[in-house]
C-alpha cells in the first residue's frame, strides 16, 4: 500500500526544492542537546565535520552526503590522464563515523531556516547551527544543444564521479590521430588551474599512447588564469605539436549527435569532447534565500563564514562569493581551510564564546606531465580593517619551474590532506 509519506516524497523529489509539504516530514535522528549539521561531505564539509568533532566532542555532529564514499575532484585529472584510477581518489567515510560523527547518506532537498531544519528525501534533521558546503551546479542555460544528449556527449567531469571515469574511457577508446576538444568557462570557477592541468595530462596521454592526436583548448578567458607562465613553458617544451590553445573563445553551442562544438566564429568536431561549463553555488543555497538575486555565489562574513543572510548558517567552499571573503581561489585546500574556520566559529558560537581570528592557507599542485609538477602557495590572514582575508607581503608565490619533486610532493599532499579530512 502506498503511504501518504511515500507519495509526498515522490512528489517532492521531482518538483523543485521550494515545495515544502503540508504534512510534517518525519524527523530523522531526533535531537537532544546541541547539534551542528554539515551539508555536503566534500572538501569543505568533511573537514568541517571532522574539526567540529575534534574541537567539541560533546556536540552532536551530523554530516549529510548523497554519495556513499568521498571522491576527490582534486587529483581526478590524474585519473583522466591515465595515471591513477578511481579507487585512488576514493576514501570511505568510516573514519568520520569512528569519531562519532553521524554520516547520513541522503540528498538534501531544502533548508527551512526559520524552523532550523534541513529537509532530506527521507525526512528532516534539526540543527542549532548549519554548515553548508554543497559545491557547485553547472550552468548549461547559455550553451545551445546541452540537453541530455549534449551532456552525455560532452561531460564536464568537474565533480569527481561517473563523468571522470567516462572521460577517461573515451580517451582510451579514441583512435590515434583523433581530436579532443576542451572548453574552459570565464572565471571565477571551481579550481582555477584545473582545466590547464587536465589539458597537460590529456596531452601527455595523447603523446604517449595516441600519436598524431590533437587537443584543442577553447578558453573563454583572455589568458591562462592560474600559474600561466609555468603551464605555457611546459606546453611549449612538451606538447607543442599537440595542444592548440585559443583564448577569448566563448562556447555558443554543441551538437550531441555529431560532436560539433561551436564558438562565435569557429566550429570544431570532437572525437572526445569535454565542456567545462560556467558554474554557480548549488541550487539549494539559492532556494534557501541565501544568495542575492542575480549573484552566483553566497556572500558570507569572512571571519566566521556566517551567511550574510542568516546568522546560524555558515557557508564554505566553492559556493562562497570571493568578493565577500577576499581574493582566495576556489580550491580544495581553501575549502579545507574554510571548513576548519567554520567549525571553530560554529563551536565557539554554540559555547557563547567569541569566534577566533582565522587564517587560511593554500597550496595548489598541478601535474604538467606524468612525473613533473608546478604549484602556487599562499597564506591568508583575516584583516581587521577590511574584514576580509589578505595575503601578507611576500606570502604568495609559484614553484620555480616544473620538477619531479613538486610532483612527488603533490602525491604526498593529497594523502596528507585526505587523512586530515577523513581519518
Amino acid at each position: 500500500m502506498l503511504s501518504r509519506r511515500k507519495l509526498l516524497q515522490a512528489a517532492g523529489a521531482g518538483v523543485g526544492a521550494s515545495y515544502i509539504p503540508l504534512v510534517s516530514a518525519e524527523e530523522l535522528l531526533p535531537k537532544s542537546g546541541r547539534r551542528i549539521v554539515v551539508l555536503g561531505g566534500g572538501w569543505g564539509g568533511a573537514t568541517a565535520a571532522q574539526y567540529a568533532k575534534r574541537l567539541a566532542p560533546d556536540i552532536d555532529i551530523v554530516l549529510i552526503e548523497a554519495e556513499e564514499a568521498f571522491r576527490s575532484c582534486p587529483t581526478s585529472n590524474w585519473v583522466i590522464g591515465g595515471l591513477w584510477n578511481m579507487a585512488d581518489i576514493t576514501t570511505s567515510y568510516e573514519g568520520l563515523r569512528r569519531r562519532g560523527i553521524k554520516v547520513v547518506r541522503d540528498r538534501a532537498t531544502a533548508i527551512d531556516a526559520a524552523a532550523k531544519e534541513v529537509r532530506l528525501t527521507t525526512g528532516k534533521v534539526r540543527y542549532d547551527r548549519l554548515i553548508l558546503s554543497p559545491g557547485i551546479d553547472y550552468i548549461y542555460d547559455n550553451i545551445e544543444g546541452m540537453d541530455a544528449a549534449g551532456r552525455a556527449r560532452f561531460p564536464a567531469a568537474w565533480k569527481a564521479g561517473p563523468e571522470t571515469a567516462l572521460l577517461r574511457q573515451r580517451l582510451a577508446a579514441m583512435p590515434a590521430g583523433g581530436t579532443v576538444v576542451m572548453t574552459v568557462p570565464l572565471g571565477p570557477f571551481r579550481c582555477p588551474p584545473g582545466p590547464y592541468e587536465r589539458a597537460s595530462l590529456i596531452a601527455a596521454y595523447l603523446k604517449r599512447q595516441k600519436p598524431g592526436s590533437k587537443l584543442v583548448v577553447l578558453d573563454a578567458n583572455k589568458k591562462i588564469i592560474s600559474k600561466g607562465k609555468l603551464f605555457k613553458a611546459a606546453w611549449d617544451d612538451l606538447y607543442r605539436d599537440i595542444i592548440d590553445y585559443r583564448t577569448e573563445q566563448e562556447l555558443i553551442g554543441v551538437d550531441g549527435s555529431d560532436g560539433t562544438i561551436r564558438t562565435a566564429f569557429d566550429e570544431f568536431v570532437a572525437d572526445v569532447g569535454n565542456v567545462i561549463p560556467p558554474q554557480r553555488a548549488k541550487a539549494i543555497v539559492h532556494e534557501a534565500g541565501l544568495i542575492a538575486d542575480g549573484r552566483r555565489w553566497a556572500a558570507v562574513k569572512a571571519k566566521t563564514f556566517q551567511s550574510a543572510a542568516a546568522d546560524d548558517i555558515h557557508i564554505i567552499g566553492d559556493a562562497t562569493d570571493q568578493s565577500s571573503i577576499g581574493s582566495v581561489p576556489k580550491s580544495g585546500f581553501i575549502a579545507n581551510s574554510m571548513g576548519k574556520v567554520a567549525a571553530a566559529a560554529a563551536v565557539a558560537l554554540l559555547q557563547d564564546q567569541a569566534p577566533p581570528t582565522p587564517s587560511l592557507a593554500n597550496t595548489c599542485y598541478s601535474l604538467v606531465s606524468e612525473d613533473e609538477g608546478i604549484s602556487v602557495t599562499a597564506l591568508y590572514k583575516w584583516d581587521q580593517e577590511t574584514r576580509k582575508f589578505l595575503v601578507p607581503a611576500g606570502a604568495k608565490g609559484l614553484s620555480p619551474g616544473r620538477s619531479k619533486i613538486v610532483a612527488r610532493n603533490a602525491r604526498d599532499w593529497a594523502h596528507a590532506i585526505w587523512a586530515d579530512m577523513l581519518s
Binding site: 571553530a344 592557507a361 597564506l379 611576500g394 613538486v406 604526498d412 596528507a416 590532506i417 587523512a419 581519518s423
Partner: protein, 189 residues
C-alpha cells in the same frame, strides 16, 4: 567600573586604530592550516613531506626563520614563512613541540640502513642518540627517507645554507652514503 579598569580602557582606546591587537591571530587556527600538507596535528603520512610535530621548539623556530630569511628556499615554505611574524613563529614552535611525533611508515631498506648505521656516529654527536634530536641538531629519527635524502641534497645544492659543522660533516659523503644514512635514520622509529 573601578579606576584601574577605566585606566585600562583609556589606554586601549588610545592605541592607533590600525594596530593589530597583540596576539590577535589565533595560533591554534593557524596551526590547523599546516595539516593540509603535514597531516593531522603535524604528523603526516608523507614520503617527501616531514612530520613537524614533536620537534624541539628551537629547531622548529630555526627552520621557519630559515625559510623566511632565505637560508632555506623550499618553494612552499618560503612563502608560508614570509606570512608569519616572530611571535607567531614562536607560538607555533611551542604548539607543535607539544604534539606527539609520528614516525613515517614509508618502507626503508634494511641493508641500506645497516650501512648508514656505520656512518651515523658523528651525526649523533649533534642530533642525539639514534638521531632522536638534541639541543644542537633536530630529530632525524622516523622522518621519511625521501625527505631526509632530499634535505641532505639541499645542503649540497645551496637550497639550504648549512652551518659550518653540517657542511664539514657532509663534504666527505658520497650520494650513496647520504642515501644509506637517510634509510638508517628513517628506520629509527
Amino acid at each position: 567600573m573601578t579606576r584601574f579598569r577605566l585606566l585600562g580602557l583609556w589606554l586601549l582606546l588610545a592605541l592607533p586604530a590600525n594596530m593589530a591587537v597583540a596576539g590577535s591571530v589565533d595560533i591554534a587556527g593557524l596551526a590547523r592550516t599546516c595539516a593540509g600538507c603535514h597531516g593531522p596535528e603535524g604528523a603526516g603520512p608523507g614520503r617527501t613531506i616531514p612530520s613537524i610535530a614533536g620537534l624541539r621548539a628551537k629547531h622548529f623556530g630555526d627552520a621557519m626563520r630559515g625559510y623566511r630569511q632565505g637560508s632555506r628556499s623550499f618553494y612552499v615554505m618560503r612563502f608560508i614563512a614570509k606570512g608569519l611574524d616572530d611571535d607567531e613563529i614562536d607560538k607555533l614552535s611551542i604548539h607543535f613541540a607539544r604534539l606527539p611525533f609520528s614516525p613515517s611508515r614509508a618502507p626503508t631498506d634494511p641493508a641500506f640502513a645497516g650501512k648508514g648505521a656505520l656512518l651515523a656516529k658523528s651525526c649523533n654527536a649533534c642530533h642525539g642518540a639514534d638521531g632522536r634530536g638534541a639541543d644542537k641538531g633536530p630529530r632525524l629519527a622516523g622522518q621519511p627517507v625521501e625527505y631526509l635524502n632530499g634535505a641532505l641534497a639541499a645542503y649540497l645544492s645551496g637550497e639550504r645554507r648549512g652551518t659550518g659543522d653540517m657542511m664539514a660533516q657532509l663534504k666527505p659523503l658520497s650520494a650513496a652514503d647520504r642515501l644509506h644514512l637517510s634509510h638508517f635514520y628513517a628506520s629509527r622509529q
